[in-house]
Symmetry: C2
Subunit: 356 residues, 2 copies
């Protein structure tokens, strides 16, 4: 049914931004992918068209009840002038998991991957040069039925847009100062924290703003139940090296299963490090620090890849990690993953997907 | 600054639906209100224009990070041919509270109330005849800045749309069967449950679908922390009459402070009933039922006004309430509030706001 992908190329190409002024998510390429869904006809009318505004009825359900899911991944240009994406199959599987949780229709991941590859190929000139730069790929699905009343929509749009991006943190790989959030909660088991839906992010903005005002880069989220156990850092998964052992919060239902998280675990195991997924209390972490055993801490995510944590603040308590510098393991993981993403290392896990 | 309201009337009026076939939120009137916000210029360009699609950039932040708030209220036509709204000041205050929590710009409630009154006056022919019918008013605000990256948007649209509606439950005031939700969670303290933002509703759709499949009308939400204490029923606040006393969950931070809830508490106090706001465990409720002390249960909200609960199911346990019939107090509250809303009773609390 979904075999046909119509392509309508833009005859009005935009100027491309300078590759050293990209920032994150500010510029969009010349084309986008769209397909529509109705309960009667399923997914249909798949098309690549010029990037531009979409018309939504003001009663479109996404604008009221937030039925939305999204993904984030990147395409890179290799030294061999190939274009590769990093583990897109995991992102598309997670997209479908998100759809399931949000009562939204799943997509044919094979077809969508081909459509994304085609879109990236068409807009390949937008893949920016420069070490830290990439083409960010944002698939998303929104409920478009024009109706009020809380229930699953009967109509959806699935779209993919592309944005040439620089480093997520303008400072590059660089330790950040983190505030342990004790009041606001990102997610709780039984909610939607383990999928990628807009409401999870909206609820975190306030805490982020408060942290910024206090001079921190991001917040460390604790569990919604006891406000004790570590969940994520900003929009990243989080890892700690304690006394030679690597620990990361187990996926207990309120944590997003990150693609970078999975890659980091795999690499660390390759390298012979013990990696333990379990619950980790913030108290335990501060104690480990007091005993001099907290060696490194870092966030993982598609946007920043590895984001070293230089300090953690809990109320008036402040601990420095790795002497406030980028830890050895953080650096090695960053170098390895970015090299893998750019086809500069042997791809023993088959993580690279060649667009062309 | 916001003194000017431009009006551009439609010259293409739509046919109105039959007043016995309205349903909820299916039809929209001929006009809508919009105003725009930018960080530099604040709210500007307030206008009433023909109802129709809005153009959004596919990267508009609301479509990714769910920064959205909304309200719901109703306008009624009185026997004296006046048009009245019920306590709109409370809705607009709640709107601003929601904005505050979601890091969105607040509105001038006085100006917005006047704009809504004007919009309702322009579309007054859409206020449907018929006892249970009303004109539903949906103010909402969305983040429109075209940018990816989780943070507060710098641009917003605030809109108001109108929909002639029938009874929210097609069966009218009529006891519903409710399923106590033990797996999924609507909200947790520290999250966004006490404000009206889209993500709260998206997260509830799945549970609602499961309950429907099992033959129930709606779910009773328990607290996100211990899964023990009663919070809301569907998208309504909830009240119980136990041994002559009225109890309702206290506003502990994860419950929406309903306008109907507040009105019910006030009326019950007027009538000499003791009303207690406190935490209520589901266990306590089932025990009260076993002892024959659970006399009534009902949900409260703008859409359904009063929705009597005929039965509650917790796993395999099922209790019938008020013999599965509409309780005396539920009926009295429903009759009183709907009469007040329609200007058929003396308005001793000054709840009616006259549109014209
Ligand atoms: C809440 C949250 N946690 C973790 C991650 C990291 O996931 P990934 O490594 O797949 O980018 C992301 C970003 O995608 C996220 O939004
Ligand atoms: C989650 C939730 N709880 C309670 C209510 C009831 O509030 P109100 O009486 O103001 O309509 C609503 C509906 O508005 C709601 O969405």
């Amino acid at each position: 049914m979904m075999s046909e992908l119509k392509i309508n190329l833009s005859d009005n190409r935009k100027d491309k931004p300078a590759s050293d002024k990209l920032g994150f998510g500010k510029y969009f390429t010349d084309h986008m992918f769209i397909m529509d869904y109705t309960d009667e006809n399923g997914w249909h009318d798949a098309r690549i068209v010029p990037y531009g505004p979409i018309a939504l009825d003001p009663s479109a359900m996404v604008l009221h009840y937030g039925q939305e899911v999204f993904e984030g991944m990147k395409a890179y240009r290799t030294p061999q002038e190939e274009i590769v994406m990093f583990r897109p199959d995991m992102n598309l599987q997670r997209l479908n998991n998100s759809c399931e949780r949000m009562s939204m229709p799943q997509v044919d991941t094979q077809f969508v991957l081909e459509a994304i590859a085609k879109l990236v190929e068409i807009d390949q000139e937008w893949i920016p040069d420069g070490e830290e730069n990439a083409l960010y790929i944002r698939p998303f699905m929104i409920a478009t039925e024009p109706a009020l009343g809380v229930r699953a929509s009967k109509e959806y749009k699935f779209m993919v847009i592309l944005s040439p991006v620089g480093a997520y943190y303008p400072e590059g790989i660089h330790p950040v100062s983190i505030y342990v959030e004790q009041q606001f909660v990102r997610a709780v088991r039984g909610g939607t924290g383990e999928v990628k839906t807009s409401g999870n992010y909206a609820s975190g903005i306030k805490a982020q703003e408060v942290a910024k005002t206090k001079g921190f880069s991001q917040v460390l989220w604790l569990d919604g139940k006891e406000h004790k156990y570590i969940e994520e850092v900003g929009s990243m998964n989080v890892f700690f090296k304690v006394n030679g052992e690597i620990i990361t919060p187990a996926l207990t239902g309120s944590i997003l299963p990150g693609v970078t998280r999975d890659s980091v675990i795999t690499l660390l195991q390759d390298w012979g490090y013990p990696v333990i997924e379990r619950v980790i209390s913030v108290e335990e972490l501060f104690e480990a620090s007091a005993q001099g055993l907290l060696e490194e801490a870092f966030g993982t995510g598609t946007a920043a890849v590895i984001s070293p944590i230089g300090s953690l603040s809990l109320g008036d308590l402040n601990i420095e990690i790795s002497g406030g510098k980028t830890g050895e393991l953080s650096q090695r993981l960053y170098d390895t993953i970015t090299a893998l993403q750019r086809g500069q290392l042997e791809d023993s896990h088959n993580w690279a997907f060649k667009v062309k």
